[in-house]
Symmetry: D3
Amino acid sequence: MFTYNIDEELYLRLVDIGDRDAVYKLTDEGRGYLREWLNWVDGTQKPEDTTEFINMSKKNYADSSGLNAVIVFNEQVVGIAGYNLLDWNNYIAHIGYWLGEGYQGNGIMTRVSKALTDYAFDHLNMNKVEIRAAKGNVKSRAIPERLGYIEEGVIRSAERLYGDYVDHVVYGMLAWEWNKHGTRS
Amino acid sequence: MFTYNIDEELYLRLVDIGDRDAVYKLTDEGRGYLREWLNWVDGTQKPEDTTEFINMSKKNYADSSGLNAVIVFNEQVVGIAGYNLLDWNNYIAHIGYWLGEGYQGNGIMTRVSKALTDYAFDHLNMNKVEIRAAKGNVKSRAIPERLGYIEEGVIRSAERLYGDYVDHVVYGMLAWEWNKHGTRS
Amino acid sequence: MFTYNIDEELYLRLVDIGDRDAVYKLTDEGRGYLREWLNWVDGTQKPEDTTEFINMSKKNYADSSGLNAVIVFNEQVVGIAGYNLLDWNNYIAHIGYWLGEGYQGNGIMTRVSKALTDYAFDHLNMNKVEIRAAKGNVKSRAIPERLGYIEEGVIRSAERLYGDYVDHVVYGMLAWEWNKHGTRS
Amino acid sequence: MFTYNIDEELYLRLVDIGDRDAVYKLTDEGRGYLREWLNWVDGTQKPEDTTEFINMSKKNYADSSGLNAVIVFNEQVVGIAGYNLLDWNNYIAHIGYWLGEGYQGNGIMTRVSKALTDYAFDHLNMNKVEIRAAKGNVKSRAIPERLGYIEEGVIRSAERLYGDYVDHVVYGMLAWEWNKHGTRS
Amino acid sequence: MFTYNIDEELYLRLVDIGDRDAVYKLTDEGRGYLREWLNWVDGTQKPEDTTEFINMSKKNYADSSGLNAVIVFNEQVVGIAGYNLLDWNNYIAHIGYWLGEGYQGNGIMTRVSKALTDYAFDHLNMNKVEIRAAKGNVKSRAIPERLGYIEEGVIRSAERLYGDYVDHVVYGMLAWEWNKHGTRS
Amino acid sequence: MFTYNIDEELYLRLVDIGDRDAVYKLTDEGRGYLREWLNWVDGTQKPEDTTEFINMSKKNYADSSGLNAVIVFNEQVVGIAGYNLLDWNNYIAHIGYWLGEGYQGNGIMTRVSKALTDYAFDHLNMNKVEIRAAKGNVKSRAIPERLGYIEEGVIRSAERLYGDYVDHVVYGMLAWEWNKHGTRS
């Protein structure tokens, strides 16, 4: 399989049709937990909805506008991570991620995000990586903070989440910073 | 003609093929002035490039993802303004604008931006309007500041401009703020 | 809003999604009246059918092949008018229109058609404007006759209308005629 | 080959890539003669332009919106005939045709048009067949007149022909007329 | 109609919408018989499924990637034959065919296949014609054998047929062979 | 990087824009050698032609119709391998590959082809894997023979190669055979 190995426990694999059932199961079983911060959970009501996500991911991969991978931890699919958007006009990669319920607390997301930051600078030659997290999503915000990203602003009402509006904190890491101050591996 | 009348001196008109020559002339004659902050100037070398911009604008209008209008001041085309992006998932309109060289200092852009803010809230039912300006572009930043927009952050290296990277200041206005505190007409 | 002002009572506005409910209501409440001469009435059974019409209208606008506007009379949407077809090979604009039940007798359609004829010659630089009306549709035929259009022929069985075939009377106005003999404003 | 046999001398064959050279030659050698009434002659400057016509013809055939065939007379390609438009909303077929220079005077076009009229009523179940000819194109107008078509009108300035505008005479034949009064074979 | 005449009893006609009912009837009435070797029978449950086949056939015809015709025997539609694939990179035509139940034993398929082989070499200038048949389909294999095609291999498990896998025998005829040894007419 | 690790010396990486220069160089420097059996070499005259190949590869990956990877040997791009076609109707994967000049004789292609055979059965759940090689291409034919593939036929004139026609030998491996008799790792 085409994988990006992070360490002995952890690797990323480009999301593909073969991952549909595992990804849908992760969504379906963690519904209550996931929908607190993810706006697509309620719209994912059957495996076919996950198929659509996978097809869109492959299409984005094909035109280099994004990349989604499954996170495999000890040979189990535990979440999705990748680049929501690869902005080739301005050389900015936007990292996005989510973990299924019960997989927090193992440092998975920190390791994955560090790897994706490395990959963006080393293989995609980006000038900047951005991570956006909802203001109230403490766990998600901890990731870029732990990796040394700089908080650049709080974009108000940036996302509509099941009728409410949530603010987004924008975190940024520039290429030169990652080499100098970041927690680069 | 299909116009959005702002006051006796000023109206907007959906950009169309008939505007090509005027818009190209404005670009061509103000090249040195415009390229300081606009990343598309060097790529606009002949009227056909402006045709492409107009066709893309009409396509965006057709699928409701954006809207570009020519600014007509005393019966002369003096610039372009509109919504670079209409984000219907999150109900955010992103205003963009530029004026040809020599038309500054008449309050044109402030009046236009106020009108576009009104329109976004009143006719498009948006929840938020955003204006982004390069950090060093004092004239452009003055517009949202004058209209009571809130500065929400400085997104670093947000745009590649002829080899350099410039920071963007994000200004936001929420629907309830506009009604209460903004300089709504 | 992007409007084409005709007089104090009357303006046209490019049809957009925000007009869907008003246009559907006009269709639905005037069904019996409208279907006598309009072949799309029976196929419009729910608001989504009107959405399709609006999207097609915006697409036609984007590629300059047509233009549909809502007719606003004393701040109320009372019908649709525009160009069914803009034939840029031969410089002919084909005007089409319909009014909701109960809005006849105010001279609305004559004023609108005169405005659209002006617009076609003045802003679109057309060489000819055509209006086609079903032979038996006396009210519709009165419009071009009142404006000085020339009857050019009766095209037999030109339209299938719910199983029957109706003849079309073709009316034409040439650019030089409009300037000389027409009821130009 | 897929052919529609008219008589011992004459058949039609769906136009295909194999006909390109013969059709281009016919165009190129009859340029001066053909451009008097055909608006596409000057735009056909090399065999590749004929390829485009053929591809468009095949596309129209595929979506049933038109049909173009080469006319083969004594085993020689002598012209093009078919339906410019098949209007399935209103059950009207629009016949179009042209003959290369030097092939007039053999009754070819009359036989072909009669066959296409038969085909439209018998195999396509159309309700009407229309033939349009430029007012001054006496030879072209003679065809529908000879076949008993009814003149329905003179549409003024219906076509732009190399800068000038020409009027079109519209001829129509209804299904019941063809069976009763037409020169049906 | 556009036909390819084979002999007094037999001709091919490019498949078109007018053939839908006849083709569907042939499929529906011969279901049990046809599904033994044809993988699309179970997926054809209503006339609309045949419409899809016809539209795909016309699209293939339009881009020259294939050609499907109805086989007309004594004025009755009895089957489908044509080229599943026209490989213009390698100049190979792939013949495909099926007959409705009850029409075997008249030599129809042999005559049709001979005609399609002629057509591929004479009008399409192909270098090779291939016919593939399931290993166990004795009647289908007899056709290329009778025409002098060479057996080139048995491709194992080449087709999934309702859950089972069947082997394909590949038969080939080269242009020079057809002229010299084949049963060319 | 997303890779499929074969052994300590060798891995595959989904081909992407970042590989363009290396792949073009390999093509350009091995031109004389490669064109003996590869029909696309003469059509690859500049890096942009390789870009087209890469974009097509990514598109095929996105719709699961194929997969192309660069072969990395001791950290150097030495060739391309993957599936020319993934036939999901019949569960057959078609392996294709080429090595740059000077990289033969290291067992690279045997290892790669074994890995791709494994992957097709283990991760894509295919029923069969096919490898086709030109009859005269001894080195290429040695690969499937070494891995235990069965020779199923010689398809004559299967490929046009710069004006000549070459025969293809078809080799097949079925899922149950690979598990039982193949050189599965």
